[in-house]
Amino acid sequence: MPLCPCGSGLRTVRCCGLEIGSVPPAESTRHLVPLVERAVQAHRQGALETAERLCLDVLELAPDRPGALMVLYQIRRTEGKLAAAEALIRRVVNFDPNNFPATNELALMLMGRGALADAEHHARNAVRIAPENPQAHNLMGMIMTEAQRPQIGEYHYRKVLDLAGGRDPILLANLAWNLKNQGRMEEARALYEESAAAAPDVRQTMLGWARLEEADRHFDAAAEKLDRMDAQWPNDPGVLLSRAVLLGRTKHYDQALAVLDDLARLSPDGKLGPNELSEQGRLLDQMGRYDDAFVAFAESKRLAAELSGNHYMDEVAENLIARARSFFSAGRLSTLPRAGTRQDVAQPIFVLGFPRSGTTLVEQTLTAHPRIAAGDELPLIADITGIMPRMLNSPLGYPEALAELWMGDQRAGLDNLRDWYLQKVAQMGFIEARHAWFTDKMPLNETHMGLIALMFPEAPLIHVIRHPLDIMVSAISNHFTHGFFCANALETAARHYVRVMDLVQHYRAEMALRYLPVRYEDMVDDQENTVRGMFDFIGESFDPGTLKFHENRRYARTASYAQVTEPLYASSRFRYRRYRAHLEPVIPILAPVIERLGYTVD
């Protein structure tokens, strides 16, 4: 009797291998209802073994009984068996899509493990089930904030404020975190103050507030918050990590490392987690202990992959790129229409590049210009590739769905996609009347450069180029999920990078693009000329203030934020030389692109 690998305790055929057709009709298992009631009762009274036994018995006979599924879900979740818990709660939702509590639980679980797209799907269902329920909107607020759509998240948080009729301190702190992510630091600070005044002992609130102060370069204020927390919650892992980050930013590397050592000692297994290891690696890097730093980075990556279960989606990436190559050919493109250009709204500037190639630096520079708004990493192009078949009424996926543009009723299809994008941007609310442009710096949008050029044929495409080995050093020292989780290992990061660069080469050979490669190294060595070149390319006048991008008070949400708040230093160029031996395995993979870009390996 094989038990389900998810760990639920049920047989596979009664759990993840359940066939809907094998579920008996509800009427035939009516006699089990009293058992479910006893299970609920036992669980409430803390008799977990009894509750568990009853649930397993009931679910063996009637695997769709929601009460038993819910109780077993709670037991497994308490035990930390998250895969089992998720499978059980998901089954409740599948059998009863209008079950709000279960939908809420599932969305929270998914958000907790970073499956934001899936979480968003269920959060939206929660709003559909209960449009006036504050928790439904709270879910959307949390998930959209985490999914880097803070403007949408803000709407839902404010909806909660309206519906709940009060100013719940936790909600205020959540909204504050959201606003911090939009760079609206003063508003965020005021909300943290209000929240902390109403509920001074909430750990998450204080931690978020400390992080706000750190991100806003109010290091003393951040330290003061952390001191207070330390007194109240000594040895709290979150506080210790924030302390280490703060000490690192203020260049107290030894002390920061010591804090991380404390953190390791305090953890049950004596080891650091992925985020802590990354921070440790960065500190060691700053201290010139490169070999130690690399060991920390590599272990961080290994652990993150192990914990999340995320690995590079090799075949999916290969398939998408092969299809894009095949579809976007000069011959086919000559037969496709292009979207027109809207004169009534600000226009996008796409800042393209591999994660950690310098896109944040370029965006901070551009958006220091008074006529350019910062859009940050907009997920909209990827969204469009998902909704395109529906919008173009196509049976095909992206990019083949663009074949619908040959149909008489879809000639304006690209205009519709363009308007969808622009409307979403408008909803985000970051564009002001003075702005003629806004940036979209979603990394790896270059994978969709063909689509972008069809939707926005006049949009400047600024592709940030950097020595591929430097990108690899950054990729190994930071966590990001872009590029089908390619950065979970050095080799897969290199492979995905080469795939995307080959695709960029293809697009550029097949299409007339408004494309400008900007070298990160030129931004360091020849900043003014490079920045002037970018503004010439865009068609905007040069503003000397853009050279002092580090004074741009806007907070960049991405991992680069700490670097872009400092002036340019040459030390970020050719950083790979310090890690040369560790990068040896990926040099043969990257060699063709290194040569194509005109770099060498020294």
């Binding site: 000069a330 000559s334 006049e458 050979a509 007339a512 490669p517």
Partner: protein, 473 residues
């Protein structure tokens, strides 16, 4: 080790074929263009007899024709070592050396072939070619003349002489010699067999004169300037041409009829190749007709492309049209073409945008360009010469190797900066930066064979001067 099974002449026989016979079959294959088959058979022979000189030599020729130049050279050098100064080997290896740009070795070998076989006009013809390539034009003429003294009907030598004379600007004799071009072995015939005469320049207005837009597109653009001159003598004109140049040619004469299939051609009294018109016209250096612009862009298309370029290129930047490679099947393409990467000195100029007009297999280099100046790969959207002409109207200057785009730009009276290999095509003459054929052409000549770096630097310097100077045009 198992012996290599010998090839069989046909499936019907199972008797091993003697090597000599295999060689004969291989040679037949080579002559008939079945190179892969020849390669296979020669590979077999050389497995059995690795130093057999004739086979090494033929294998070298086959490898050369298959584009495996290094292997060709290796085999032919081995053949020479084991064939003891066979003039044929020396003559043929010359071409390999020439193709690879190893002109000193080519010259020494060609001379040795002449020494060994002083009465062979082909060896002298070969030497004439090497001298032309080395820009030793008088020596080239002398060799070609010696070859013709031995065999006055040797078309290749006549053609080589024509090219050398024309390059020196000696057009009277040059055009006459140039008429031999259709007699060269393997040259594409001008037209299907006909009983009609070649036009001799005599006017007539009661019948059709059939012109033929022969040779490459650059030649067509260069020589189509004579169409109005022809039309004054024979107003009923039809022209057989490739479809790509039809609309362009119709600009030259309002009632010109163009045909792309021989069977559609109307009855005619006489015919003339466009490339033969300079001879009939009596063109000399002092009277080259250069009525630029003699080709013009369509206004509506120009507006379309101007709008398109305005959207793609920085508004305040100078726009430089660039072409880095010609048609790869051109017999001189290896020398005349360069790479986009070689344009680096131009791409480093401030406030310029490169507009690629490149078509063909080399166009994909646009995808590998990471220079500082923005590159607009408009070539990906160009459909025909009408598009190209419209785009040329929107550019400040065109920098190109010796291609049809250079001719087109110049025919439109636009600034065309043409970069030439050390031994250029005859039409660009010697040692001058201008051209009597095109008043707006500026020539940049390679000083070292195969090296474009200096040329590009010169062009970049000249562009800088041009853009920094007050605008007068």
């Amino acid at each position: 080790m198992e012996p290599v099974p010998p090839p069989r002449a046909s499936l019907a026989t199972s008797v091993p074929v003697p090597l000599e016979e295999v060689f004969t079959i291989a040679a037949d294959y080579e002559r008939s263009g079945k190179l892969a088959e020849a390669d296979r058979l020669l590979g077999y022979i050389l497995t059995v007899a690795p130093l057999q000189a004739d086979s090494l030599h033929l294998a070298g020729i086959v490898a050369f024709r298959l584009g495996r130049h290094a292997e060709a050279l290796e085999r032919m050098e081995l053949a020479i070592r084991h064939g003891v100064d066979t003039p044929l080997y020396l003559r043929n290896i010359c071409e390999v050396y020439r193709t690879l740009g190893r002109l000193d070795e080519a010259l020494a070998t060609a001379r040795r072939a002449v020494e060994l076989s002083p009465s062979d006009p082909l060896c002298l013809h070969n030497l004439a070619i090497i001298h032309y390539e080395r820009l030793e034009i008088d020596e080239s003429i002398a060799c070609a003349e010696q070859a013709l003294a031995m065999n006055p009907t040797l078309p290749g030598a006549h053609f080589e002489l024509a090219e050398a004379l024309l390059l020196k600007g000696e057009m009277a004799r040059g055009w006459d010699e140039y008429e031999w071009r259709f007699q060269i072995a393997g040259a594409a015939p001008l037209m299907p067999p006909t009983d009609k005469p070649q036009w001799d320049g005599t006017p007539f207005d009661d019948a059709t004169l059939l012109l033929i837009a022969d040779q490459g597109f650059g030649d067509v653009i260069q020589f189509c300037r004579y169409i109005p001159w022809v039309a004054e003598r024979c107003p009923n004109l039809a022209i057989a041409c490739a479809p790509e140049v039809g609309s362009l040619l119709r600009q030259l004469h309002p009632t010109l009829r163009t045909f792309v299939k021989w069977e559609d051609c109307p009855p005619y009294r006489a015919f003339a190749a466009l490339s033969g018109l300079p001879r009939l016209h009596g063109t000399r250096l002092h009277n080259v007709p250069a009525p630029v612009p003699y080709l013009r862009a369509d206004l509506a298309r120009t507006k379309h492309w101007k709008d398109r370029l305005d959207r793609l290129a920085p508004p305040t930047y100078r726009r430089i049209g660039v072409v880095w490679a010609g048609r790869p099947t051109h017999n001189n393409d290896r020398r005349r073409s360069t790479t986009l990467a070689a344009f680096a000195p131009i791409a480093a100029l401030p406030r310029v945008a490169l507009v690629s007009l490149q078509k063909g297999p080399s166009a994909d280099q646009a995808g590998r360009y990471y220079g500082r100046a923005p590159l607009i790969n408009i070539g990906a959207e160009i459909k025909d010469y009408d598009d190209t002409m419209a785009l040329l109207e929107c550019l400040d200057v065109v920098v190109t190797v010796d291609t049809s785009v250079g001719h087109l730009t110049a025919a439109m009276g636009k600034p065309a900066w043409i970069m030439l290999a050390t031994a250029p095509d005859w039409r660009w003459l010697l040692d001058r930066a201008d051209s009597p054929w095109y008043p707006t052409v500026r020539l940049f000549r390679q000083s070292v064979a195969g090296q474009w770096g200096d040329v590009m630097s010169c062009v970049a310097g000249a562009l800088r001067e041009r853009f920094e100077a007050p605008t007068t045009e």
